[in-house]
């Protein structure tokens, strides 16, 4: 009988913080500048330059810590991690080892098997490295220091996860919390959120941890799920063949759906950590901590409770709307203007979702303004436009944030409510389609639908289908 194995997973998640300037200098953190344009003596490791800590980094890190139930270390310190690599201009990274800013937290995740607490061992602040660009043509490597010194937090979980579903749920929850805090946009593809997976297996029921590997280069939730499955199988196979797992760092190749060893524990570097002498300890006073706490925005759990109280929308809608901060923001702002939560929710749940899927967009890429959505709702409620026109107008709003009032006016999309004009068109339709008229009169109800359609077509959609229906029935009676 084969042994049943349990998978044990812990994550190290790096999150790029959304500060305007770098962690230790005043350079911009903006993405995509020409190489080495967002640089200064500090972030290029010039001799004699010194780091000065960006306060906002501390505030974001503490905010994430508070939102993940961590203890905030009010006297934290930075350390130097020494290693040579050309993307690291000082050949040491300023990070936190001995006294990280946050410790002993947890978040709760929901999976098919219920709610589970995932422990957070620590959160620490550190600087990002630059980027190496290998020029195959010239056979040389170039360094771009624009990213050097961009602030990161590393969130280290306890080994509390047991499968890919839990890992994804954890990452999803973490991402949502951080997005709600505005501390980062957490985009895996763009690298503003990066997850390394520490995984080991052990016979089910054992409480001894097996030898773990660390998996890097995971750029999407799907890749993470595949890598976990792949690594679990690889380790089980090794163990069932009577071999051992080597403690090593492995790189996941998502195209090949396989990983390969980068470096083993034997050649693991000694980083020679020691306290950073160029920085003083970060003292987070009670007052400062209180002000960070006071500024904590409402997180999703709190929002859901409030939505239940304040708005008459189904739980299902509330869940989806709050699954992205941007969506919740649009919902609340639009509702505040028009006072019709259910209608706002419908637009978000149906048309917005459909268009996002169609254009492969994430909620944080939504650009339309609550004002324009509110105007659209107003226009339909007044009967100025009918629902099919409204959908067309919404597509414009969704893509270009068009002002619906202006657009309806310019395009002449207002519903024609002049009964005389409508009757004239209907009479022409009746004259032009004698066969359908005959069919209707002989009891074929379907024919009426055809005639309504022909009328709407002649009206270029600008008629109220209900009115058309009634008038047609009257004329044919």
């Amino acid at each position: 009988m084969s042994i049943q194995y349990e998978t044990v997973i812990g994550l190290e998640v790096h999150v790029e913080l959304a500060t305007k300037t770098k962690i230790f200098c005043g350079c911009s953190t903006a993405f995509g500048g020409a190489p080495n344009t967002h640089t200064c003596p500090v972030c290029t490791g010039m001799p004699g330059s010194l780091p000065v800590l960006n306060r906002q980094v501390v505030e974001y890190a503490a905010a994430v810590g508070l939102a993940t139930n961590c203890t905030i270390n009010q006297h934290c310190k930075f350390d130097r991690k020494n290693y040579f690599y050309p993307d690291n201009p000082q050949n040491y990274q300023i990070s936190q080892l001995y006294e990280p800013i946050c410790r002993n937290g947890y978040i709760e995740i929901d999976t098919a098997s219920g709610t589970k607490k995932i422990g957070i061992h620590e959160i620490h602040m550190e600087e990002d490295a630059g980027k190496l660009i290998h020029d195959e043509w010239e056979d040389c490597s170039l360094v771009d220091f624009n990213r050097s010194g961009v602030p990161l937090i590393e969130i280290v979980s306890e080994p509390d996860m047991r499968n890919a579903e839990e890992v994804i749920a954890y990452l999803d929850k973490l991402r949502l919390i951080i997005q709600y805090l505005g501390a980062s946009d957490c985009k895996l593809q763009e690298g503003s959120m990066r997850a390394d997976v520490n995984l080991s297996v052990r016979p089910a029921g054992s409480d001894v941890l097996g030898t773990r590997t660390e998996m890097k280069n995971l750029n999407s939730f799907k890749a993470i799920a595949r890598a976990i499955e792949g690594e679990r199988e690889r380790q089980i196979e090794l163990l069932s063949m009577g071999r051992t797992v080597t403690q090593e760092t492995r790189r996941w190749d998502d195209n090949k759906e396989a990983s390969y060893a980068m470096r083993s524990k034997e050649d693991a570097q000694d980083y020679r950590y020691f306290p950073e002498p160029d920085l003083v300890p970060v003292v987070i006073s009670d007052e400062w901590l209180a002000s960070i706490k006071a500024r904590q925005p409402e997180l999703r759990t709190q929002k859901l409770i409030r939505y239940k109280k304040e708005f008459d929308i189904p739980d299902y809608d509330a869940n989806i709307i709050t699954s992205a901060k941007r969506m919740a923001d649009i919902f609340e702002a639009t509702t505040a203007i028009c006072g019709k939560p259910k209608k706002v929710s419908n637009w978000l749940m149906v048309e917005t979702m459909r268009l996002m899927k169609e254009h492969e967009m994430e909620a944080d890429e939504l650009t339309f303004s609550p004002e324009n959505l509110a105007k659209l709702i107003q226009l339909t409620d007044e009967g100025t436009i009918n629902s099919s026109v409204a959908k067309e107008v919404f597509t414009k709003i969704f893509l270009e944030n068009t002002d619906p009032e202006q657009y309806v006016e310019e395009q002449g999309l207002k519903t024609v409510s002049d009964e005389g004009a409508l009757k004239e068109v209907i009479r022409k339709v009746i004259t032009d389609h004698p066969q359908s008229v005959a069919d209707y009169r002989s009891g074929k109800e379907k024919a009426l639908g055809f005639l309504v359609g022909q009328t709407m077509k002649a009206m270029k959609g600008k008629a109220d289908p209900q009115a058309v229906n009634q008038i047609l029935k009257g004329e044919l009676a």
């Binding site: 003596p41 010039m46 001799p47 004699g48 330059s49 010194l50 040579f84 020691f274 160029d278």
Partner: protein, 496 residues
Amino acid sequence: MDLMSLTALELGRKIKEGETTAVEAVEAAFAQIGKVDQTLNCYVTTDKDAALKDAEKIQKKIEAGELTGPLAGVPVAIKDNLCTEGMNTTCSSRILHNFKPTYTAEAVLNLKKAGAVILGKTNMDEFAMGSTTETSFYGPTKNPWNTEHVPGGSSGGSCAAVAAEECSYALGSDTGGSIRQPSSFCGVTGMKPTYGTVSRYGLIAYGSSLDQIGPVAKDVSDCAAILEAIASYDPKDSTSIRRKSYDFTSALTEDVKGLRIGIPRDYFGEGLNPEVKEHILEAAKTLEEKGAVLEEFDLSLVEYAIPAYYIIASAEASSNLARFDGVKYGYRAEQYEGLHNMYKKSRSEGFGPEVKRRIMLGSFVLSSGYYDAYYIKALKAKALIKQAFDRAFSKYDLILAPAAPTTAPRCGESLSDPIQMYLGDIYTVSVNLAGLPGMTVPCGRDKKGLPIGMQLISDCFQEHKIIRAAYTFEKTRTYERCPLVQTPDQKGAIKE
């Protein structure tokens, strides 16, 4: 008028009063550099054209009444570990032989604001690691009092240049005595301020938690005025301290009445040259005669200072010097295969033996398995040493001590026995470990004619006490010019 024999303040006054000009001062400095620097090798880099241009501009500003400070128009030499925009900054190392910084160190900027004219960059022990200015890639600096002897180090170039009148004053840096010890050997006055008083921004770090920039000059008044110019709270340096007052010159008073001076017995025992001891105790007596109250006491923990210092300084240095890798600036080996070989060869060829020794020592004490046994223990020793000083300063205003156990050793003697050389730092390193200010003031010469300096140490932020006592002491003697500069004909006596 011999402009270079004047103190910085005297020269500044004469420029201000129109008796001479900043341009004439630069010309005089370069005349002296031309005369003696081939022998002494105080400078790594000089730039006469730039200095003259600066002097012209500054002279105009002085005449226009825009520059009124006491140092306006006075020429200065800068230790070569302080960044100067567009001017080579080498740390006397091959690895930075061609390095032109893109910015100027804050302390130097402060001097420029005060109207200083920069003559050039002074020689030093490579990356400030050494006590003799012999580990420089650009060759050793010689002691102007006797060229067969070293000037001390690591700010040997700055101190020798002041003694040899190749500048009116200079900036040095002091990590374990690098201003105070060569000041003693060269018969000049030098000061290491309280840690955090002068911004380290732009000082190429050796031991970040110990490094401090300070003045080297002919007398105490100059030192006080220079310190007043360079000290500032700098938000670019996180270890910079906002002091209540940046006034140091008002402490220039001839009054030590009631000043309590402690003389640590531990500093006057075995290892101290009897001649040095005699002169230091004589100087103490002079202060006593002027009204100071002397008392001997036991400082304790003195034997832990050197090991703690060399562990901490080397640990920090091993990391600080990692950035010199041949990738971004400075020396890169010509022949290499791949990245690691490039690192290895560039660093092997770019650093000298003393720097390599300290990088290895520092890397070792930070290695996993040794970190607690060495680095953490050294930090504990550092904290205890600070406590010992705290106890002393609860009883005394000042501590009076030698700056070095001997006068300047002969060239080539020290490097052959590094441990012996490290032990020579016994009276200076504790001050850095505790972050205290200290000053060396000339107090006599040995039988060979080599200068001896007395060191005055105070608690943090009490520089005014040091300045007061040093000034009072200085007034009891006359400044001794080294034979090299006294008469032109004596130049022949200098041995190469």
